[in-house]
């Protein structure tokens, strides 16, 4: 442990600061969105109290008590809640739905790639492996401690992003939590571990940190899309019957069948089982990838 801590404390510091920054950003946006929604609801109530037409009313009879008050209130927010909220917070889709997994994948690869490759580049593996600790124990300890730390990072980030997603869902920006399935909760744990494992393995095989980071990111994208597709489509689904194509509330629509007039979907109750399945599938891949990394460390790293 003391070797790992002394070698990687700088890395731990920047990972911690990055995590704190992105989580603070997510929670800050979540707080801002909650604040906006609370203000909006107060505004709607104030409009109603003043007898003003509600923001989404196009016509009708209203008992306006003070036109001046209504004009003043109308200037505070524009139109119906959802379009206004979407216009204000639409940027979060790119930043947090796509950006969070990307940031965590980069962190995972940047921690994993140098784990073996940097040692080989600096030839310090010759000092590490000739102490009284076996090479296997050195590898297992380094990988385990780093992976456990990154899993914690992924979990914190996943929970922070889920909190933001919940708020954005309240405002009508996101129709259900399935939309951010791969960007929240346990999914981020699996993704950061996958990126880390690929970085470690490519580092051990290529013996170059930069090349390993590049190869790790590229293969991460391929594996993420493949496993995401597999978990989404190859797991058991349910099907709507009848003339409507509407997915039941909270469901994750997959495909429509025009001939049958039905839609395949994952019901809302499948969210956590599928999160666990996705994590388990990535976990199995991670173990396999780390095993190849060990093989390269054992056979190629001197």
């Amino acid at each position: 442990m003391c070797l790992i801590w002394r070698q990687h404390r700088g890395q731990a510091l920047w990972v911690g600061l990055t995590l704190a920054s992105i989580c603070a950003l997510a929670l800050g946006v979540s707080w801002s969105a909650s604040h906006w929604l609370a203000g909006y609801h107060q505004w709607v109530k104030a409009l109603a109290d003043a007898g003003c037409p509600p923001p989404d009313a196009h016509s009708g009879d209203f008992h306006v008590r003070s036109a001046a008050t209504c004009n003043t209130l109308r200037g505070l927010y524009s139109g119906a809640q959802q379009p206004a909220f979407v216009a204000r917070y639409n940027f979060t889709v790119l930043v947090f739905e796509d950006g969070f997994p990307a940031a965590l994948a980069i962190i995972g690869v940047l921690v994993g790639a140098p784990l073996v490759a940097r040692e080989v580049e600096q030839r310090t593996q010759l000092a590490s492996w000739t102490q009284s600790v076996s090479r296997r124990r050195w590898y297992v300890m380094k990988v385990t401690v780093s992976a456990a730390s990154l899993a914690a990072v992924g979990l914190v980030a996943g929970i922070a992003n889920a909190r933001l997603q919940h708020t954005l869902g309240s405002g009508g920006l996101i129709s259900s939590r399935w939309v951010w399935f791969f960007s929240t909760n346990l999914a981020l744990v699996g993704e950061i571990l996958l990126a880390f494992a690929l970085g470690v393995a490519f580092g051990a095989w290529l013996r170059r940190t930069l090349a390993a980071a590049g190869a790790g990111i590229a293969s991460f994208l391929v594996l993420l899309f493949a496993t995401g597709w597999a978990v989404r489509t190859l797991t058991p689904t349910e099907q709507t019957i009848g003339p409507t194509f509407n997915v039941p509330a909270g469901g994750w629509g997959l495909s429509q069948s025009s001939s049958l007039g039905s839609v395949r979907y994952h019901p809302a109750s499948q969210y956590w089982p599928l999160q666990l399945v996705f994590l388990a599938v990535l976990g199995i891949i991670v173990v396999g990838v780390l095993a190849t990394g060990w093989h390269a460390t054992r056979t190629r790293a001197v």
Binding site: L3, Q7, R123, A127, T130, V133, V302
Partner: protein, 289 residues
């Protein structure tokens, strides 16, 4: 008595038909300081890496104090070429790592040694000189109190003063503890001062191995007129001419047998080493003791 290092038909193949070391059979007695000599690519680093447990043999076996190197990591000290250490760590961190990773590590001795050498313990490894880094690496090894120390040209980039300081302190420590040392270097004069056992490697094979005094007894430098060739049964290892004379390093029995017009003398360490390094067709293995 168990040898500090014993290799039996040891070989390492890197690629198909590319061997780093072949058929290497040696015994390094405990407490000896062994010179490992050979041209670049002769297999010195391969032998040291296998002895340190860093490389697995392709053929044969290697044992350190009676067991495989992987089971004797706590008894082996290894300093690689240029003495690589973690560049961003402080010297005191390196010593602390040694303490954590080695159950028999003598941290107090290590810190005392570092202070005696005037190396600042708070300095980062990448900010100290090459000589100081080599000394820190040597300290990390000495504090393990190993039975076998493997030194792979650790002084390659050091200036003469730093080399002398390194050698003196290494030799003094090993004499105190009885540690066997396998010391690879290209600087034969330095090896001659401290080594009492010699291994010469060429083209991945052992050309010569044995106690230096014994090797000097069983070899002769024979000097004669230009063009002189050995006509007796003694094997000529190498010939060279100079000053109107032809010299030959020959392998003989224990007693000299001077012929007419010839002068014989025991070879110096230099002549032994260079003779075997320049040998036209190296024999498979000259001496094993």
């Amino acid at each position: 008595m168990t040898s500090a290092l014993a290799a039996e038909s040891l070989g390492r193949r890197y690629r198909r038909d590319v061997w780093g070391l072949r058929e290497c059979t040696i015994q390094v007695p405990a407490g000896r300081v062994v010179a490992l000599v050979g041209p670049n690519g002769s297999g010195k680093t391969t032998l040291l890496n296998m002895a340190a447990g860093l490389l697995a043999p392709s053929t044969g076996t290697v044992q350190v104090v009676g067991a495989s190197p992987q089971k004797r990591l706590d008894r082996i000290g290894y300093v690689a070429q240029d003495a690589p250490l973690w560049p961003r760590l402080r010297v005191e961190d390196v010593i602390e790592i040694g303490r954590c990773l080695n159950p028999l590590f003598d941290a107090r001795m290590a810190l005392d040694r570092i202070r005696q050498l005037g190396i600042p313990t708070r300095a980062r490894v990448n900010s100290i000189s090459g000589g100081q880094r080599a000394q820190v690496a040597l300290t990390l090894v000495l504090a393990k109190h190993p039975d076998l120390m493997l030194l792979d040209e650790p002084m390659a980039n050091l200036d003469p003063l730093a080399r002398r300081e390194f050698l003196t302190s290494m030799f003094a420590s090993c004499m105190d503890t009885g540690t066997a040392v396998l010391f690879s270097s290209h600087v034969v004069a330095e090896l001659e001062r401290i080594c009492d056992y010699l291994i010469v490697l060429r083209r991945g094979r052992v050309s010569l191995a044995g106690d230096v005094d014994e090797l000097r007894r069983t070899h002769r430098v024979v000097t004669g007129p230009i063009g002189w060739r050995s006509s007796d049964s003694r094997r000529v290892i190498n010939e060279w001419s100079g000053g109107g004379r032809t010299n030959a390093l020959v392998r003989s029995g224990s007693s000299p047998s001077t012929g007419p017009g010839l002068e014989e003398a025991a070879p110096t360490f230099d002549e032994l080493v260079l003779g075997y390094l320049e040998e036209d067709e190296p024999a498979r293995q000259e001496a094993l003791t």
